[in-house]
Symmetry: D3
């Protein structure tokens, strides 16, 4: 992992943008790990910054979607960092509980759809 | 698949509840496939009905979460039926585009977190 | 795909062993597709033949396990071919329904364990 | 996580049912984590209790299926808790070895079926 | 899907760049589907174009890596389009066979590592 | 886990072959865990040894493919052991960075292909 103090100017610029965008004074290990690959770091940060910003969907909804992907993929790091992010953006305990219920149900019915080999309904055909 | 006309009373009761809850006059193939297993059908429907209803999260947000799980799992049937469901609940083209961007980004960074073997930050430890 | 009539002696020997082991007079498309890669075909068939044979677990139980993996992975081909295999080995409709219920539940709780970031209990530590 | 001593009556009732059903005097962390969400806890426990009980498939077979899903999903917590469960229900070392061999083989051939883009055989079409 | 003839100037510019980069006179359905979301289209194409170009890894190696991810995820579309891409860049039948063997083996041993709950070796600790 | 000193002759023979093939004087935990299942150990090692050897694809390329599968599956152990293996075979930091960029991009576009329900292009049909 590349700490701020040892980072190149290019990497430091990304770390600075992360901290100012997120209004914190440190960067997460995810970014420090990507710090070994300056270009991948920059591109990934720019992607995240752009994609997670407010738009037609609000930032909290986007965090919930992010958590849904991460729980499905069993990504422990991503669940940890983004559930903190979601709470910071207003996710309550009640919302978290309903989110988890939907994620669990979707993973269940996804497996059922595959297991029962459900054919596509006429009206859903492209 | 079990059609309404050939369904048992138990299965028919579930089909009726699906149609009245969703305000349609037909049930999707997913439910007809589960119709061969009356109890699994009933339990799954009751779970879905309960979990996807309005609560701390609104029904559209829940559909977006559902789509995030389904795209991650490569569940073609689920993407088809629930993107129709999400549109019926108000998902615009712009929202769909942002949803897909977040899902794509989350799958990308999930793989990066695993690939870089990012250690959990102190503040995220349980 | 390599049909029997056009197969090399090496590939034909595998096809013959598949048909005699399974007591059928044709081989599935899976094997015909692997027929383009004689060595991978042979090694995969030998692995399957060995692993799926009766042992401490009976062949039907092994097929159920195979289906659990295949539904979880959303492998449509594998669900199709192995649910036929499981039925041929005695899987009833009732067993299939219970199998699907367990698979669905396991996929649900797997996602919940990740989502809730459940720490390992003392007694489960290696 | 919600410990028994600090649990509400609703949560405590579920914990009690878990302990009496499983004939133990403690509940696993999985349930304590869900204890923050009383309704999700209750629904999930009722689902597990029902689905994993003896039926057309015996409880040990169901645990093996559960392990197959969990290993495929890389769910570390689930592998830990349910391999203990499976051993408690009679899974021998030999059975575990064969189970793992089938799970490994199924994950291998699932990837091959996707990689070779194997078309569905005529006889497997719905 | 958005065809070239009906595309906006922004989308058409991306399609043009795809065709000139790939030296073809048509764009794949993947891009036409993303054509409904001009910005996601542009960002995704720029990402792919940059990431798949020759660098420390040659373009063919990158296609093989891409196929490994796609077979693991059961992404039928991605296998189809990128195995064509890999062949166009020089993948022989023999290379494809070895690629599939490695992908199959990796999926097998990934499941075994999870199933056996293998603890990290001292020398692999971060 | 079965240590060398306590291993049976059959298991010891595999450990010996692993150490002589890999030119090291110890075996990884993965193999020690499989040491409880002598036959699965032997078969898995023989498979790995054969599949990862030089052929139409060189051993480093095969390790990169292996890492692609492992990052996609979120297999922490496999990432740890095989990224060490890949570095030992010549993977530079720059190659690792590009590998991760391709893996991330492939996981992103795999999800997009599912999410947009992209139909197969005429020319990719089997």
């Amino acid at each position: 992992m590349v700490e701020y103090s040892e980072a190149s100017a290019e990497v430091r610029a990304v770390y600075d943008d992360i901290m100012s965008t997120r209004k914190t004074d440190s960067v997460n290990n995810f970014w420090k790990a990507l710090g070994t690959q300056p270009e991948l770091l920059r591109r990934t940060w720019e992607g995240i910054k752009h994609v997670m910003a407010a738009g037609a969907l609000d930032p909290l909804t986007k965090e919930l979607v992010y958590l849904a992907v991460s729980a499905t993929n069993q990504c422990a790091y991503c669940m940890a960092s983004h559930s903190a992010g979601a709470r910071a953006k207003g996710m309550t305990e009640e919302m978290f509980g309903e989110l988890m219920a939907v994620i669990g149900m979707a993973n269940q019915t996804n497996a059922l759809a595959a297991g029962f080999r459900v054919p596509l309904d006429e009206q859903f055909r492209p």
